[in-house]
């Protein structure tokens, strides 16, 4: 805390209260346990004083007067009375006013039973209204987008939803319109509230004016049971999971100060629909004949028993190990599991089977060891007022929604300077202090110049495609703020290029790390923005080649773990690409897919395809059948989020709890239990009877997780953060050279969009249709050069393939670059990407 942090002494209802300077009276009172009724005030947004419900008697030295406590800052000696006769009268009056036009259709309103307006009218309001005139009328609920309905008659004009859209999400697509008693919230005609965050407005609306399509008329608040949990995304957003009759019906964001501040993306908020999907796997399957007989060459997956499925798997593993050694078994995926699931599978693979061919990332992230070797930042560190954030990752608005919200807030309100080191504009670009949009693959040159290297133009008169002057100005800005934390949000900015380019850039940043932390300054730290639920947990739990649980390498941690486990792999394994290649070469006998779909996600589809057809036994543990798992020989139905207990690790390394509220479908089991049972059949007794047992063992054997007991995790509101790794960063031997792009081609950048063809999304009916159709985005100035018109249907050609799609003008795409979504439902960018080339250059021609 800064030195001017003092205490302001006020009195609330006769009790002395220590408030913070600048704090609103309503907040100080609430911290002291005095609740002041309110509608428009929201602790995560600016006060506007719209509803007047928070009016209380405030005496700041000139005698008591009624003032809105959400708009008055505490001052020394202030006396607040929230129970005075005057206050009660004011509250009574305000409620009578607010109800003038309110339709009182509570019996048919989703909010009934959890409605602040209802509750406060009961507690503070008049018993009846003197208003006999006609209330105002609007068309009953109108959709403001595909997910949210607005009933303007119920609206009390508190400005929460509109403020959220503007201040928090940065999508001011709903506003107050008209005036006086006709004032309404609305969108521009035919321009929906298309925000990735619209569901939050439903959660914060203090009345039933905004309702969510997926939840409308599904349940009554008093029928819901709930648990607090952690949503399995890399941010580890804190949520409340609500269910009724053993069905999950709603997620609500929880205000965790360290993480999501109560917000959720629509994608996560409404993905609950997928959990209840009819298509969930509920019983083990094996490949057999339609009559139910086992047959490895069979055409169908037929239902079987757990015993049968498990012993078939164990037999296949035993045979493979006996025949070709432990490295003939490989494990892919696991990034969506809990830490406990991941640990159990890691121990099974590495400690029992003895294979290190294990990788949770499908070659769409960053090298695990590299990520673990970097000093880890927290989100709050990145958001430190006055600090600097370097964004070297895919667009957080598309991939890490709540991180985008946190960063956006920090930039807009806390003077954090954002330096974008990305191959294209992102959702934060308009707020960035410096936009260093480099040519695809050339981040390293810019990073070096930025951090202390020579600022010299390259052969093209720029630095990696970025103007020299801009890099110089950004470098100066970093130097200026060197006494504040520098945080790098690090991810794989484009899937059309290998991770090597990103790691080269990281090496440059790390090279100057000492310079940055000299003299006790906070220096540099990293937030790995990787893709998929608990991917950071997977890395920590050793679901990566060359790593063991606890952020330690096979070489360093092997001996210690061998004692606990009995053995560890003798040879380091390969990553997903290596594993699939080995499979193609006939070296993999058993391939275990943990919620993984290499056919859908691995950048080189042909390789994945070929690999799957070569492997003798494919075993899958999953929630759904996906393009890869339909080709499996044995399928285990796994328990998903909200169906099992465990812990989750977010991008900070923060570990928080996940809780169970519904039973898994059919006989589906948690993955830790599946791994434990398989281990038993392979002759190893893990002794796990519950996820707590697994966690217990993790805290004993994983160096970074020592002392992180379940009690400690549960005791703290924000969980606990795992210790940094002792792995030293190894810079790549040689920087990967970037091939030159010719004058007629555009270099491809491919990154994910929020809504895509992902399995979970496609099984959530409300979200399935939201994925955009494929377009190629090109800088408006490049159309002349490539000779096509914006909006035209064009033919896009690379050395790997060609496809037809519309091309659109997008000033956020630098000149010479073309941007495409990685995972559009209709066109697959992998048909254009040459997996063995370093970059993909496109030519465009009219059809």
């Amino acid at each position: 805390m800064s030195e001017n942090e003092t205490v302001v002494n006020i009195t609330v209802n006769g009790q002395p209260v220590e408030a913070k300077p600048g704090e609103w009276v309503i907040a100080a009172a609430e911290r002291a346990g005095v609740y002041i009724p309110h509608f428009c005030y929201h602790p995560r947004m600016n006060s506007v004083g719209m509803c007047r419900m928070c009016i209380v008697d405030i005496d700041a030295g000139r005698g008591p007067a009624l003032q809105p406590s959400c708009m008055v800052e505490v001052s020394e000696g202030m006396v607040v009375d929230t129970t005075s006769e005057q206050t009660r009268k004011a509250q009574d009056g305000v409620l009578e006013f607010l109800l003038l036009n309110h339709p009182l259709d509570c019996p048919v309103c989703d909010k009934g039973g959890e409605c602040p307006l209802q509750d406060q009218t009961m507690a503070y309001g008049p018993g009846e209204s003197r208003f006999v005139e006609e209330k105002r009328h609007f068309e009953k609920p109108i959709p403001v987008n595909d997910l949210v309905y607005l009933d303007r008659e119920r609206c009390i004009l508190c400005d929460r939803c509109t403020r959220f859209a503007d201040e928090v999400a940065g999508d001011p697509l709903i506003t107050f319109q008209d005036r006086g008693d006709q004032t309404q919230v609305n969108t521009f005609p035919d321009l929906p509230f298309s925000s990735y965050f619209s569901g939050n407005t439903v959660q914060i609306c203090p009345v039933g004016a905004l309702t969510a399509a997926p939840y409308r008329f599904k349940a009554r608040p008093w029928d819901l049971t709930e648990v607090e949990s952690t949503y399995p995304n890399p941010m580890g957003d804190r949520v409340v999971v609500q269910a009724s009759r053993d069905q999950v019906l709603r997620y609500q964001g929880v205000d965790s100060d360290a993480v999501n501040w109560g917000w959720l993306t629509d994608k996560d908020r409404f993905a609950f629909e997928a959990t209840a999907s009819e298509l969930r796997l509920h019983t083990p399957l094996v490949r057999g004949t339609p009559l139910g007989r086992l047959d490895p060459g069979g055409s169908e997956l037929v239902e079987t028993s757990w015993g049968q499925a498990l012993s078939l798997t164990a037999d296949a593993i035993k045979a493979a190990v006996a025949d070709k050694g432990p490295q003939s078994v490989a494990v892919l995926g696991g990034a969506r599991l809990t830490n406990e699931d991941q640990y159990a599978w890691a121990r099974l693979a590495k400690g029992v089977i003895g294979t290190d061919h294990v990788d949770a990332q499908l070659d769409d992230g960053l090298p695990a060891e590299g990520v673990l070797s970097l000093p880890r930042a927290t989100i709050n560190r990145a958001c430190t007022p006055g600090g600097t954030v370097i964004l070297m990752a895919p667009d957080p608005k598309e991939e890490q929604g709540t991180l985008y919200l946190r960063l956006r807030h920090a930039i807009v309100n806390d003077g954090v300077q954002l330096i974008e080191l990305t191959p294209r504009a992102t959702g934060l670009s308009h707020l960035a202090a410096f936009r260093l949009h480099h040519r695809p693959g050339e981040a390293a040159a810019v990073a070096a110049a930025l951090m202390g290297g020579d600022i010299e133009a390259g052969p093209d008169g720029d630095i990696g495609g970025t103007p020299v002057s801009a890099v110089a100005a950004a470098a100066a800005a970093i130097a200026n703020r060197a006494d504040q934390p520098l945080t790098v949000v690090l991810g794989r900015p484009s899937l059309a290029e290998p991770a090597d380019f990103t790691m080269d850039a990281v090496a440059e940043l790390v090279r100057f790390a000492n310079l940055l932390s000299a003299g006790g300054r906070p220096g540099i730290a990293f937030l790995p923005a990787l893709h998929r639920g608990n991917v950071l947990g997977a890395l920590d739990m050793g679901l990566a080649p060359g790593l063991l649980p606890g952020r330690i390498t096979l070489a360093d941690g092997g001996p210690a773990l061998a004692e606990a486990w009995g053995s560890v792999p003798s040879n380091p394994g390969a990553d997903t690409r290596g594993i699939l290649q080995a499979a193609v070469n006939g070296q993999i006998e058993v391939l275990i897919l943990l919620g993984a779909d290499p056919l859908g996600d691995f950048p080189h589809r042909e390789l994945a395809d070929e690999a799957l057809s070569q492997v003798g036994t494919i075993v899958a543990s999953d929630l759904f059948l996906n393009p890869s798992t339909v080709r499996a020989h044995i399928v285990f139905p796994a328990a998903g989020f909200a169906e099992r207990r465990g812990t989750h690790t977010n991008l900070e390394g923060r570990i928080t709890g996940q809780r169970q509220i519904v039973t898994p479908p059919g006989t589906a089991r948690a993955d830790w239990a599946i791994a434990t049972e398989l281990a038993r059949q392979l002759g190893a007794d893990f002794g796990f009877g519950a996820p707590e047992d697994v966690w217990d063992e993790i805290t004993r054997v994983a160096p970074s997780h020592r002392n992180l007991s379940m009690e400690a995790i549960d005791a703290s509101e924000d969980g606990v953060v795992a210790a940094d790794s002792s792995i030293a960063f190894t810079p790549p031997d040689n920087a990967t050279p970037v091939p030159h792009v010719d004058a007629y081609s555009l270099r491809l950048v491919a990154a994910r969009r929020m809504y895509d063809r992902g399995t979970l999304l496609q099984h959530a009916p409300s979200l399935a249709g939201l994925a955009p159709t494929a377009v190629l985005a090109v800088n408006p100035y490049d159309f002349d050069r490539v000779g096509v018109e914006p909006g035209a249907d064009v033919q896009v050609i690379s050395n790997a393939g060609e496809m037809d799609m519309p091309v659109v003008a997008d000033p956020g795409v630098p000149r010479g670059t073309a941007a495409f979504g990685y995972n559009y439902p209709d066109l697959d960018v992998r048909d254009l990407v040459d997996p063995d080339a370093m970059v993909t250059d496109l030519r465009i021609q009219t059809r």
Binding site: D171, P172, L173, I174, T175, F176, Q177, D178, R179, N186, T187, F188, P189, L191, A425, A433, F434, R435, L436, H437, G465, T466, P467, S469, A470, A473, A474, N779, Y781, D810, P811, G812, V813, P814, R815
Partner: protein, 206 residues
């Protein structure tokens, strides 16, 4: 429906350049759009949103707040009869009834020939001249029924010398290049600090 035409666009750019922050130009631009079409079309709102860098919903929010910005077509002449207290005491209700009978429309309505829209409005701050009215926001004071009939006949044959709806001022303000708040500082002077642009902003996305 129409966006701003080339002429209006030129004026719009000049207006925007007068303000340090483009969105400050919102209301003058809405007037400009109204001057062009007689009312503010949705397309014009969307166009203005592009010009000042806000969303169309925000433009709609501002536009719909102001009574004088019309979002539906109105007659060539808006006749606003004051029905505030002073005017009421001096017979404006009778005047309004007379107007209704003469024009054949209720307040808010437009005559069939599209010439006149009648409105009854709150005090227009000319109480000493009650009862009064405005024609396209130009005052007519101490209006009798005869005055009104006279006015209507002049409006009908376009001899009333009233600017068409939307045009607020006869003289357009012009600001010399050296006095604009735009992005071109006068020769020899650097940009003031509040105007300093993002050094990495080349405007072409690079």
């Amino acid at each position: 429906m129409a966006r701003l035409n080339a002429n209006s666009l030129g004026v719009a750019q000049e207006i925007i350049a007068r303000y340090p922050v483009p969105r400050s130009a919102l209301i003058p631009l809405l007037h400009l759009a109204q001057e062009q079409e007689g009312y503010v079309t949705e397309d014009a709102m969307a166009h203005i949103a592009e010009l000042v860098g806000v969303t169309p919903a925000e433009v709609m929010g501002t536009c719909s707040f102001y009574e004088m910005l019309k979002r539906e077509p109105v007659g060539e002449y808006m006749v606003n009869i004051c029905n505030g207290i002073s005017c009421h005491l001096l017979g404006s209700s009778d005047l309004i009834h007379h107007a209704e009978a003469t024009l054949g429309v209720r307040p808010g309505g437009t005559t069939d020939d599209g010439k006149i829209t009648l409105e009854a409005v709150e005090c227009i701050a000319a109480c000493t001249e009650a009862p009064c009215l405005q024609v396209n926001y130009r005052y007519r004071n101490r209006v009798t029924a005869d005055d009104f009939d006279q006015l209507v006949s002049e409006l009908r044959d376009d001899t009333a010398k009233v600017a068409s709806h939307g045009q607020l001022a006869m003289v357009r303000q012009h600001i010399g290049d050296d006095r604009r708040a735009g992005v071109s500082p006068p020769d020899g002077q650097g940009e003031p600090a509040w105007m300093a642009r993002n050094p990495s902003d080349n405007g072409d996305g690079s």
